[in-house]
C-alpha cells in the first residue's frame, strides 16, 4: 500500500468520526462523547495531511497553526455563554475566509504554472469557494459586530439596497467567469473584494432578531465553500465534511425561519417591517390606554407554592438580566414543595438556535426539565401559573389571532391557555419586532415590573418565607 492510500484511509476514518460525532449529538447523554470523536477525526485528518508527500515545508505551518490554535482555544475558554452566537459567527467567518484564501492560492498556482484558463471543474469550484467564502467571511464579521454590539443591532438600510446587491452579484459572477478563461490574479482579487462588500451589505440590513437565521445560513455557506475547495484540491474529506456542515446549516436555516414565520428569502433580502398590529404603546384601536394589572412578589410567591403545575417561559431578556441562576433556585424550591415545574423553550428564545437551553444548562437546570414548544403547548391548559420572563414576541397571541399583525402565523407558546400568566418585565416597551402584545392586557395576566434578576431573587426569598 502506498503512502497516498494510507492517507486516503485516514481520511475515511476521519469522515467516519465526523458522522459518528454528529450522530451522537442526537442525545445529551452521548453528545459530549460525540464532540470528542469528531475532534479525534480532525486530528487524524490533520496528521494524515502533514505526512502527505506534497507537503515539504513545516515551519510556517507550525507557526500559523500554533498562533491560530492558541487564539481559538483562549477565546473558546473565556467566552461567556451569552456571547456564544458572536463566537460561532466569528469562527464561521474564519472558516469561510480560509476557504476563500485556499481558492485564491490555487488560482495563482494555476497561473504560475503557465495555464491560460482553468478546467471546468476547477473553475467552478475555485470561483464558488472564493465568492461564497468571502461573502461568509464578511457577513459573519458583520453579524459578529452586531451581536457584540459594536455595530447597531437594528437593520441598517439604504435606498435601492436589493437592486445594488443584485447588480453586485451579477458583476461578481461575470468577473468570475471571465477570470476562469483569462487567468490573471487581480481579476480574482477584485471578485473577492466585491464579494466581501456583498457580504457586508447583505447582513447590515438584517435586524438583531433575525440573527439566528443569518448565523445558520452563513454556517451553511462556509460548509459549502469548504466542500468546493475539496473539488479544487481533489480532496474527498473536504467534500464530505463541507457537505455535512452545509446540510446542517441548511436544515437549521429552514427550521429557524419557520419558527420565526419568515421565509429565508424575506430574512435575507428584506429588513423587518416593524409596526402594524395593535398600535405602538399599549393603546387600543380607539386610542384609550389598555388596562394593565400588577402583582407583587409576595402575592405571587403564595400562589406559586400552592400551584400544582408551573411553567416557566424564558426569553433572551432573562439572559440579559443574568437571571438564570435565581430562576433555577426558584424552580428547585418549588419542586421541593411538590410543585411540578418545567421550562417551555421557544426555538428562537435566544440569539441562535438552542441558545436558551445552553444558558439554562449553564445555570444547572437539568435538561429533562426543558420542554420544546411542541411538548409544552398541549401542557398549558393544565398549567396553573405560567411565568413569562424576558420573553415577548414568542408568547404574543397576535401571532395566532390577528391577521394584520406582522407576527401573524408565527408558531408561539400558547401561554394564554394557562390559568394564570405572570409577565416579568422591565417596562411596557414592546419586543424586538416592535409589536404590541395583547397578552399583557389579558384579564388573567399580571405584570411583575422590574429587573428580572431582582424580581426573581425577591421571589425566592418570599417563597422560602411562605
Amino acid at each position: 500500500m502506498t503512502r497516498a492510500d494510507l492517507i486516503q484511509i485516514a481520511y475515511l476514518v476521519a469522515a467516519f468520526c465526523f458522522i459518528l460525532g454528529l450522530r451522537w449529538l442526537s442525545s445529551p447523554r452521548t453528545a459530549r462523547k460525540g464532540n470528542l470523536v469528531a475532534a479525534l477525526g480532525m486530528l487524524i485528518a490533520i496528521i494524515a495531511t502533514l505526512v502527505d508527500g506534497r507537503v515539504v515545508g513545516y515551519t510556517w505551518i507550525a507557526i500559523a497553526a500554533f498562533v491560530g490554535g492558541s487564539i481559538g482555544a483562549l477565546v473558546a475558554r473565556r467566552v461567556q455563554m451569552t456571547a456564544m452566537p458572536q463566537l460561532v459567527a466569528l469562527l464561521n467567518g474564519l472558516g469561510g475566509g480560509a476557504a476563500a484564501l485556499i481558492a485564491i492560492s490555487e488560482y495563482h498556482v494555476a497561473g504560475a504554472a503557465g495555464e491560460a484558463r482553468l478546467g471546468a471543474v476547477i473553475a467552478v469550484s475555485v470561483m464558488f469557494s472564493t465568492i461564497v467564502g468571502s461573502i461568509s467571511f464578511a457577513g459573519s464579521l458583520v453579524a459578529f459586530g452586531k451581536l457584540q454590539e459594536l455595530l447597531p443591532g437594528r437593520p441598517i438600510t439604504w435606498p435601492l439596497q436589493t437592486v445594488i446587491n443584485g447588480l453586485g452579484a451579477i458583476v461578481v459572477l461575470g468577473l468570475a467567469a471571465y477570470a476562469s478563461f483569462n487567468i490573471h490574479d487581480p481579476l480574482l482579487w477584485l471578485a473577492a473584494g466585491i464579494a466581501l462588500l456583498l457580504g457586508v451589505s447583505a447582513v447590515l440590513p438584517i435586524g438583531g432578531a433575525d440573527m439566528p437565521v443569518v448565523i445558520a445560513f452563513l454556517n451553511a455557506c462556509t460548509g459549502l465553500a469548504a466542500a468546493a475547495t475539496g473539488f479544487a484540491l481533489n480532496n474527498s474529506l473536504l467534500i464530505i465534511a463541507g457537505v455535512l456542515v452545509g446540510a446542517s446549516g441548511t436544515l437549521l436555516t429552514q427550521l429557524m425561519s419557520k419558527a420565526m414565520n419568515r421565509s429565508v428569502a424575506s430574512v435575507l433580502f428584506g429588513a423587518f417591517g416593524g409596526g402594524g398590529g395593535g398600535g405602538g404603546s399599549g393603546v387600543s384601536a380607539t386610542g384609550e390606554a389598555l388596562p394593565v394589572l400588577e402583582i407583587s412578589a409576595s402575592d405571587l410567591a403564595a400562589q406559586l407554592v400552592y400551584a400544582r403545575r408551573v411553567m416557566i417561559v424564558p426569553g433572551y431578556g432573562l439572559a440579559v438580566a443574568q437571571a438564570q441562576h435565581p430562576v433555577r433556585e426558584l424552580a428547585d424550591l418549588l419542586i421541593e414543595r411538590g410543585v411540578s415545574v418545567a421550562f417551555a423553550i421557544h426555538p428562537v428564545a435566544g440569539r441562535m438556535p438552542g441558545h436558551m437551553n445552553v444558558l439554562l444548562a449553564e445555570a444547572d437546570v437539568p435538561y429533562d426539565q426543558l420542554l420544546e414548544m411542541e411538548e409544552a403547548n398541549p401542557d398549558f391548559p393544565q398549567t396553573d401559573i405560567v411565568l413569562v420572563i424576558g420573553a415577548n414576541d414568542v408568547v404574543n397571541p397576535a401571532a395566532r389571532d390577528d391577521e394584520n399583525s406582522p407576527l401573524y402565523g408565527m408558531p408561539i407558546l400558547e401561554v394564554d391557555n394557562a390559568e394564570n400568566v405572570i409577565v416579568f418585565k422591565r417596562s411596557m416597551a414592546s419586543g424586538f419586532a416592535g409589536v404590541e402584545n395583547m397578552l399583557f392586557h389579558d384579564p388573567k395576566t399580571r405584570m411583575l415590573f422590574g429587573d428580572a434578576r431582582k424580581s426573581l431573587t425577591q421571589l425566592v426569598q418570599d417563597v422560602q418565607a411562605v
Binding site: I19, G21, L22, R23, S26, A31, N35, A38, A39, M42, A45, T49, V55, V56, I61, A64, A65, V67, G69, G72, A76, R77, V79, L87, N92, L94, G95, G97, A98, I102, S105, H108, A216, T222, G223, A226, T229, S236, L237, A241, G242, L244, V245, A247, S248, L251, I335, G338, S340, P347, G350, M352, P353, G354, H355, N357, V358, Y367, D368, Q369
Partner: protein
C-alpha cells in the same frame, strides 16, 4: 479522483448529513452549530496542502499562512467551546420525590 466519484461522495454525504442532523433535538442546536462549525474547520487540511507545497511563492505563502491560522482557530475554538457547552448538560441528580416534572 474522477468528477463522478466526487459527485457521488457529495450526494451521499449530503444525504447522510440530513439524516443524521435532523435527529438532533432543538435542545442541542447550539452545540450542533458550534460543532459543525469546528468540522468545517477541516479547510485547514486544504490550507496545509497549500502552505506546505508553497515553494517560496509570495501569494501561496501569505494565503496559506493566514488560511492555516484561520483554520486552526476555527477547529480548536469550535471543539473547545462545544465541549464546554456539552459538559453543562446534566440530568437531574436524583429522581424527584413528588410531581412528574
Amino acid at each position: 479522483m474522477s468528477l463522478i466519484t466526487e459527485l457521488v461522495i457529495l450526494v451521499l454525504a449530503a444525504w447522510v448529513g440530513i439524516e443524521v442532523i435532523s435527529k438532533v433535538p432543538q435542545m442541542l442546536h447550539t452545540p450542533l452549530m458550534s460543532g459543525t462549525n469546528a468540522i468545517h474547520g477541516v479547510v485547514i487540511v486544504g490550507a496545509i496542502l497549500v502552505l506546505g507545497a508553497a515553494a517560496g511563492g509570495t501569494v501561496e505563502t501569505i494565503c496559506g499562512i493566514v488560511a492555516v491560522a484561520f483554520g486552526a482557530a476555527n477547529v480548536v475554538g469550535g471543539f473547545v467551546v462545544t465541549d464546554r457547552m456539552l459538559q453543562m448538560f446534566r440530568r437531574r441528580p436524583e429522581p424527584p420525590k413528588e410531581g412528574q416534572g
